[in-house]
Symmetry: C2
Subunit: 429 residues, 2 copies
């Protein structure tokens, strides 16, 4: 047997990261394994928002743009996120949504290639990349007269970057951890392969920033974006972030050339003059309430630094996902589940994904009814339906992984998910 | 004499809109005349945000996307704003920033013209339009190979739309109320003139939505955007809004084709299929905290509906700005001030702007030190420095307009602003 419940409890008792859990306001009575969709509320956020709303906005009003540092939020929070993704201060800003930021950097990357290597006609990505990335890429491809080439599996990426087609690739656009399978891509190797054929790289860190060490500079990446409301715990629809390697940041206007990206926004001049560096990747007025919550969220991750930081979080994350996967294999056999996320640590993000030909949605619902919150991602012709369980090492305990598997086993053995499925199929609405 | 202080107090006493002031948490000890920069905190916002943060996010987590209606926020709040700008339900959404939304609609308008009237080479606007509008227009003009033609005064717009150059205009992009001068443009006439030469119109309602009746449909406008944090009181960096006339909304992808604008975002398909109508103008995940605050702000304007709505607010706004301008002309003569905002009600927004060749910044600072909050907008070769006073009829009282002028007079007569100016010029930092 992999581990008893008491052994899981013992792991929690000696977990050096366990104190970090106190920084969260966890939902009572639930095992929350969906931090990769929406991170849990930090304990500090509500009070901080009251301060921003009642004092900074309510009492100080416009003076807070300076006195409360509102105008500096995108850069100040950006500098904090920079520490989590392996880049320097002044290189990254918090702004807008992931989709909007992707548009900025993908547009910039395509414009660079049009200038430097004209005639390249491909943006390469994975068919299973998160849809909004593909939708934005379709739009940018249309604007630049490029083709979006999608490979069916990460194993096909080296071939797409090799041979004759490799010389046609303008941009390689990938998400480091796949939202549906949990597969972690090798950023260093893929970036090197892209550069080897003269392509630029755009990395989406939505499912990796805050969950595992990301080394954008060491991997020599070109552009990156990421999400504020998953492992950064910034709250629903939190501002996202955007980074451009300093060697590229000054080269082009990004197309969303709003006033906050101007070199001197308060001169109110009629001509756009982009700010130096990453500052030009700002657009409109920053979303102050969202920024305040994002900063509280990022601080929960930075609080791990004295305890070993992202390396320690990564070790715990791998231990949690290993434990969960081992227990599922051991205790839920014979129920048609397939492990989709990789067993090899180097290829696995911070989630465990299980496939099932039928009933995946109903099983997730039955688990939620028992207080175990994972989520469901529908399959299609190529991939099966998925039960997805995210493990945020900041606040998830080993005993929760253990208990979650027991609930899964009970749901499968009792067949209670079939009632949920029956209700769903026969619902009057 | 225009009016005594007692007469101003009497106006407040019989003001039918006076009860609306109770819906705000006003800054103590100040006369706030800057709601055109950042609207005052509504009394309901702080409690509502606590509910969203602590209950919807903290306790319900991802379920709130459905159970708390998060996913419907852009459309639900959009329907409320629609009532303020003369368009129907389902035609307008709250989303992103003003700058980002302008990019979406200006891009769409240019794409339509490229298809329908190829060869048109101009985007026409005012040189004194708010800078971010001009910066975004410069970017879109570059992408489409168009030229941004700026007129120096609104009086020059008819000429720009007439003659030979009129046939070259693809898009007329204007802000209904000028942020610096307070000039209110004639939306109906300018839209008709643009349509007369085959141009499309994009209207920025940043300084008009919530301050005066806006009639987008009656004026037959094509596209509009607006700001959530000025007269809509949505808080710093609140989500903005975007409207496309239903005759255009389905025609093109807008370029920021994120997943929230997909016809079925939760099918997670790899191909973008735009939502019907205005839904496709959404992009990334909505900023839930900002949306919640925006809704509280919009509700403060809708609360005027039983009391006469925007027509009543407009009447009070004109009375306030008239009173202020009259008193300045009467009591602050001989101090080098020039009234920049028009006296004619039909040409005036909800602000009074005064120009002065020197010291404008210091005068604004001296007023702030006395608790009268207006703001300063720097001039340039064409326009002088401006002292700007915004009048939000929801919460501004007649006696505040009266007292503000008295403070202005005292600042000018005592010369105390010169000390502020001396300090500014000789500051060590």
């Amino acid at each position: 047997m992999t581990m008893s419940r008491d052994q899981a409890l013992a792991l929690d008792a000696k977990d050096p990261l366990a104190p970090l859990r106190a920084a969260f306001s966890l939902p009572p009575g639930r095992i929350y394994l969906d931090g990769n969709s929406l991170g849990v509320l930090p304990a500090a956020t509500s009070q901080r928002l009251r301060e921003v709303v009642e004092h900074e906005w309510g009492t100080e009003l416009i003076e807070s743009w300076n006195s409360a540092g509102w105008i500096e939020q995108p850069g100040r929070i950006g500098d904090k996120i920079a520490r989590l993704v392996g880049v320097g201060p002044g290189e990254l800003v918090a702004a807008d949504s992931t989709s909007v930021n992707l548009y900025k950097v993908l547009h910039a990357a395509c414009a660079m290639q049009r200038a430097d290597r004209p005639g390249r006609r491909l943006i390469v990505s994975e068919r299973s990349n998160f849809p909004t990335d593909l939708y934005i890429a379709q739009s940018v491809a249309r604007e630049f007269g490029l083709e979006l080439k999608l490979v069916d599996a990460p194993e096909a990426l080296p071939a797409a970057l090799g041979g004759e087609s490799g010389a046609e690739v303008a941009v390689l656009m990938l998400t480091q951890v796949n939202y549906r399978t949990g597969v972690l891509l090798d950023m260093a190797a893929l970036t090197a392969a892209a550069h080897g054929v003269g392509a630029l790289t755009v990395w989406d860190l939505a499912h990796s920033a805050g969950a595992l060490p990301v080394a954008l500079k060491d991997c020599d990446a070109d552009f990156a974006i990421g999400c504020g409301y998953k492992y950064l715990n910034g709250g629903p629809g939190a501002p996202a972030f955007v980074w451009a390697h300093p060697r590229h940041a000054d080269r082009f206007w990004q197309p969303l050339s709003g006033w906050m990206g101007h070199a001197a926004p308060f001169e109110f001049t009629s001509d756009y003059r982009p700010a130096p560096g990453i500052g030009r990747y700002l657009c409109g007025t920053p979303a102050i309430l969202g920024m305040a919550a994002l900063e509280c969220g990022v601080d929960t991750v930075l609080a791990a630094e004295p305890l070993g930081g992202l390396a320690a979080l990564r070790a715990k994350s791998l231990a949690l996902t290993d434990l969960f996967a081992n227990l599922v294999e051991e205790r839920c056999t014979g129920h048609g589940l397939t492990l989709v996320s990789p067993r090899e640590p180097a290829r696995r993000g911070s989630q465990v994904c299980l496939a099932r030909d039928e009933g995946a949605y109903a099983i997730v619902q039955a688990l939620i009814a028992r207080g175990v919150v994972g989520d469901f991602r529908a399959g299609d012709a190529q991939v099966p339906d998925i039960l997805r369980f995210g493990f945020t090492p900041l606040y998830t305990r080993f005993v929760e992984a253990w208990d979650a598997v027991e609930h899964l086993r009970a749901v499968l053995e009792s067949g209670e998910w079939k009632r949920a499925e029956f209700n769903r199929r026969n619902a009057v609405t």
